[in-house]
Amino acid sequence: MRRYHENLSDTARELVDQLPVTKDTQRFRCLMTCAGRELAKTVMDQLASKRGLMVVCTNEDADFLAKGFVEECVSSGCEVYFTCFWNQRIRHSGLKSTSIVKSYREPCPHIDSVVVLKSIIATSCVVQTNLSELLHACNPNQVFVASPVLLSGAVQRLKASFPKQQAEKFQFAWFAEDDQRLENGNVVPGIGGSVYELLGVGTEDTKNSYLPEIVKSRRHQEPRSGNRE
């Protein structure tokens, strides 16, 4: 069963309803980019400062969900820094790990707030890994976790995996919460299947070969200061 966020805009509602029924790669990418823009609007309404905003994502989400998010933040005058993680998922005998095998992290003199983006949050393992890595190195005033779709209980699981002092800072931005998950791990209706295939960036095993265009373009903007878009 799907539950929608109580303050959901009509645009966000339409996007989150379209995602699970869209199989065309270009259309799906476009929807994710738009979802990123809508999530940005939600997050920016709650941002205490427009300075030092670190946007964090995985490589598969970088050119779509994160790109839309960054574009919206920048057009609203936010000082945006960008971090992209390549996570390697390994499952064996019920054990799983999501280690970071590669990262692109823009140096930021002071991170005031962090936004971790994910196209869908089910177990929250990847978000936990990436947020832990980031919070290990900085102490932002605000921490947002943003995703179009959550699996029921993801918020509680994520908060429970961090020390109380950190978890108390977490704020969540989402459009819909689903409570059904298949044996293959896909949330129903979720986003309609495996995000890697839907975005056309390979499979779970091959997606780390994908080099996001947003990383390539931002890398060439070094050295940087202030707003870089």
């Binding site: 390549w86 390994i90 064996h92 005998s93 054990l95 790990s97 280690s99 095998v101 590669k102 990262s103 692109y104 992290r105 823009e106 140096p107 070969s209 080099l211 390539k216 890398r219 070094e222």
Partner: protein, 133 residues
């Protein structure tokens, strides 16, 4: 553990080079404590984690790929690239933003990476990046 057991044990493993001074609540059980280490089962767990690729546990491993010395010269010529082999894992960084740790140096993936670089002869990071393991 019996089927009716109402308890569970969570094993947390990790590595650290900073074990000279221990903080309250921390204890160290390393290979110098041979009997205790064996009894703890840590060696079995570490072996299984390694075998099944569940995590990266550093271990000194020699590099046995014949093209590696030539590839090192080539990597040294790429501006902004730093690379090193830390206890069995090839790692790299580029500029102040990019970092990667990928494969064990005794793995097939590392051998293929060395071959790819040796064949493609990349001249800058943009050419090298798609070849990285």
């Amino acid at each position: 553990m019996g089927a009716d057991a109402q308890f569970a044990v969570e094993v947390v493993y990790g590595t650290s080079q900073k074990v000279e001074s221990l903080f309250p609540g921390e204890f160290l059980l390393d290979r110098t404590e041979a009997v205790a280490f064996e009894l703890s089962g840590l060696s079995t767990i570490i072996d299984r984690v390694r075998e099944q690729g569940l995590g990266k546990i550093p271990q000194a491993i020699p590099i046995g790929v014949s093209q590696w010395p030539d590839v090192q010269v080539l990597l040294n010529s790429i501006s902004g690239l730093n690379y090193w082999v830390d206890r069995g894992y090839f790692e790299w960084s580029f500029g102040s933003s990019d970092w990667g740790m990928s494969v064990r140096v005794d793995s097939e993936a590392f051998r293929r990476f060395v071959e790819r670089v040796s064949t493609a002869q990349p001249k800058n990071f943009e050419e090298l990046e798609p070849l990285l393991p």
